[in-house]
């Protein structure tokens, strides 16, 4: 595909601005201030040695069952799933290789939180996006809407819940750091405020090393709590080409417009009703519908 969707959407966004209800642009300054202090993690793929200590620590603390082979021996999971909240993957070609860690990105403006009809997903002010399973009805809109396809569900169960990384929100509330970053022996995964993580990342990009000059997660989908730097192209590491649009900002104006729709439709219907029935009172053959000849039978009011 010669046209990248990412580039394309920038054009689309600009072109549609005049045509459609535009998503309210988030003022960069307010976002920065609001998100500087939130919890964040920086993953540097050039440091990671793929020991998977984070993965094991995560399973242990979340109480997730290990994957086993037919003889009952432990086996590596292949991807994030209902039993795997975080995973280390390896990219390898002839010239280069790199590990990469996947887990919930804990978006600054999470699509999952905005689309959940029952508010089962919540963005904590401290940063984590957490799941209240007691509310969930299982519509799986969060799975469809997540730009990083992170929420997974327990397909094998009759009544499945959503499973995804909760950023160890309970531990963070106690002043501890998440188990994955705590377990990391090399410092490939570090934990701190988003401002601190971005500062460190920027410092490394201008320093030594062969870094791609991009911090993945700084602006993607309006910014995420998890930020990444790497010496390989991020698409090779399996990251989607994500536009910088804050996704909830696309739907929110429409949702706000609902009250307007109600007002317009009730007013318009009533007005048309009063107008089309006025003739009746004047005895002007309004009853048999013959007055309809001058009005095309359209079903479209607005």
């Amino acid at each position: 595909m010669p046209i990248s969707r990412r580039d394309f959407l920038k054009v689309t966004g600009a072109g549609l601005g005049a045509l459609a209800l535009p998503a309210a642009p988030v003022s960069a300054s307010t976002t920065e201030i609001a998100t500087d202090a939130t919890a964040s993690m920086l993953y540097d793929s050039t440091i990671c040695v793929g020991c998977r200590a984070c993965q094991v620590a995560c399973k242990r603390r979340a109480g997730l069952p290990p994957d086993v082979d037919p003889s009952g021996l432990y086996e590596m999971p292949h991807d994030l799933d209902s039993k795997t909240w975080t995973i280390i993957k390896l990219y390898k070609d002839q010239n280069s290789d790199s590990f990469v860690k996947n887990q919930c990105m804990h978006c600054i403006h999470p699509a999952c939180v905005s689309v959940c009809p029952v508010g089962a997903l919540e963005k904590l002010e401290s940063g984590p996006v957490i799941y209240h399973r007691e509310r969930c009805i299982g519509c799986r809109y969060c799975m469809a809407a997540c730009p990083f396809s992170v929420p997974k569900t327990e397909w094998e169960k009759p009544l499945p819940f959503i499973q995804k990384c909760d950023f160890c929100a309970d531990l963070q509330a106690n002043g501890e750091q998440p188990k994955c970053s705590e377990a990391c022996p090399t410092g490939a995964l570090i934990y701190g405020t988003r401002k601190a993580m971005l500062d460190i990342a920027r410092g490394r990009l201008v320093g030594e090393g062969n870094y791609v000059q991009h911090i993945y997660g700084e602006t993607e989908a309006g910014g995420t709590s998890m930020v990444y730097i790497s010496d390989l192209d991020f698409t090779k590491l399996g990251f989607p080409e994500q536009s910088d649009v804050s996704l909830p900002d696309i739907t929110w104006p429409y949702m706000q417009g609902t009250l307007g729709v109600i007002g317009v439709m009730v007013t318009l219907s009533t007005a048309i009703y009063l107008r089309t029935h006025r003739k009746d009172k004047n005895g002007n053959n309004g009853n048999n519908g013959s007055n309809g000849n001058n009005q095309p039978p359209k079903g479209k009011e607005a």
């Binding site: 595909m1 046209i3 959407l9 072109g15 549609l16 045509l19 209800l21 535009p22 994030l80 209902s82 905005s114 689309v115 009809p117 029952v118 508010g119 009805i137 299982g138 519509c139 799986r140 809109y141 799975m143 469809a144 730009p147 396809s149 997974k152 569900t153 397909w155 094998e156 169960k157 009544l159 499945p160 819940f161 080409e241 994500q242 536009s243 996704l247 909830p248 739907t251 929110w252 429409y254 949702m255 609902t258 729709v261 439709m265 009730v266 219907s269 009533t270 048309i272 009703y273 089309t276 309004g286 048999n288 519908g289 309809g292 009005q295 039978p297 359209k298 079903g299 479209k300 607005a302």
Partner: protein, 382 residues
């Protein structure tokens, strides 16, 4: 009109090989649905973490609700626009709407991971969620449709007082129905606007709400043609071609506006480049826009085809097919995700629920005064 009731009771049930098949398929679908509730989605569907929404959402929910838009359109045409000549089809159209929404609710009960908690929509609110609005609108609109349809029942039972009460609030009910429909028909489109990077640009649009609303109006009107076709074929009611051809005159206008805006968007945003690239998305886009939009416009603009039984019926099929293709393209085929083909169980539930809808419609036609003035011709054929 006790006589009418007697006549209607006599109506022969169309028990033939076709109807037996409908019953068998409906029973099979219900059976599979029960099996799915016991063993879960993983055991019965081809859905996966990479494909959380399949046939039930894109076809049964999104297309089913779109096709049911005739109920509010025709109600508005008759009661708000006061075009009483269309009154004879109001009852059947509202019934179709009621059945379609019931089926959509049933589909949701099959598709939800936690169906026993559907009532959570009432107590847990998230006004940011398009699905929250749709859930509420569908709940309220089902109630409105039931009330709109209740006079038929009261009429059959000869209950005078409830009939009077409902008649008194008809207009507010119709206005509520129009408003609720406008809200959720467009919000079904809003639901998909949050997927700008997952839906192919030829099918994604920030104007989804408008597109969904317009195509639903057109396909809803087309659906009334299909109902009349079915009623006339199965029960010997006269095919009200004169009235229907006047009704479908509106479709070229609605689809015309849709066509122009969608093409304009294509060129203003530069998305036409994807058309030039070719491939499956371009081909499907052209099929959708020509077969599902241009062809119906041509069919219904020409008085010759519009006033011909075959012409109007084919035009209606193309319009309905266009809506279904549009919804399935956006919410399934060209939405990023794992490879997916529905399992036989998913197909069985979809087919079964559709057959259940037919059974419900036929039961109503048989037992209730669906068409306000049964013509002597229709009565004779019973």
């Amino acid at each position: 009109m006790a006589v009418r009731l007697g006549e209607i009771r006599l109506r022969r049930y169309p028990l033939g090989p076709g109807m037996i098949l409908v019953w068998v398929l409906a029973a099979l679908g219900m059976g599979v649905a029960v099996y799915r509730w016991i063993y879960g989605l993983g055991a019965t569907t081809n859905l996966s973490d990479g494909r959380p929404w399949g046939l039930w959402i894109s076809f049964d929910m999104m297309s089913g609700i779109g096709l049911a838009a005739g109920a509010f359109t025709v109600a508005a045409v008759v009661y708000i626009f006061n075009l009483k000549k269309f009154y004879p089809i109001v009852r059947a159209t509202i019934l179709t709407g009621f059945i379609s929404y019931t089926l959509a609710a049933l589909t949701l009960m099959v598709d939800l991971s936690q169906p026993q908690r559907i009532w959570h929509l009432i107590i847990y609110w998230n006004i940011h969620s398009p699905l929250f609005e749709i859930g509420w609108c569908v709940m309220l609109y089902l109630t409105v449709l039931a009330l709109e349809f209740s006079p038929v029942l009261f009429d059959a039972l000869n209950w005078k007082v409830p009939l009077k009460i409902i008649r008194a609030i008809t207009i507010p009910l119709i206005i509520a129905g129009v408003t609720l429909s406008t809200m959720h028909q467009s919000t079904l489109g809003t639901m998909l606007t949050i997927l700008p990077d997952k839906i192919h640009p030829l099918f994604y649009s920030r104007l989804f709400p408008l597109y969904f609303y317009l195509t639903a109006i057109a396909a809803g009107l087309a659906m009334t043609v299909f109902e009349s076709f079915h009623s006339s074929r199965t029960y010997g009611y006269p095919f009200e071609i004169k009235m229907l051809s006047k009704l479908v005159k509106g479709i070229p206008w609605v689809l015309g506006i849709y066509f122009v805006i969608r093409l304009a968007e294509l060129f203003i945003t530069g998305k036409y480049l994807y058309l030039l690239q070719g491939g499956a998305p371009a081909v499907m886009f052209i099929i959708e826009m020509v077969g599902g939009v241009l062809v119906p416009i041509l069919y219904f603009s020409d008085p010759n085809t519009r006033n011909d039984v075959h012409g109007i019926t084919w035009g209606a099929f193309f319009t309905m097919g266009g809506l279904i293709l549009n919804r399935v393209n956006a919410a399934l085929i060209f939405m990023d995700g794992s490879f997916y083909l529905p399992s036989w169980q998913e197909l069985a539930v979809t087919v079964g629920l559709t057959c259940l809808g037919l059974i419900m419609f036929d039961a109503a036609v048989r037992f209730l005064p669906m068409f306000p003035e049964p013509t002597p011709k229709a009565v004779k054929r019973l």
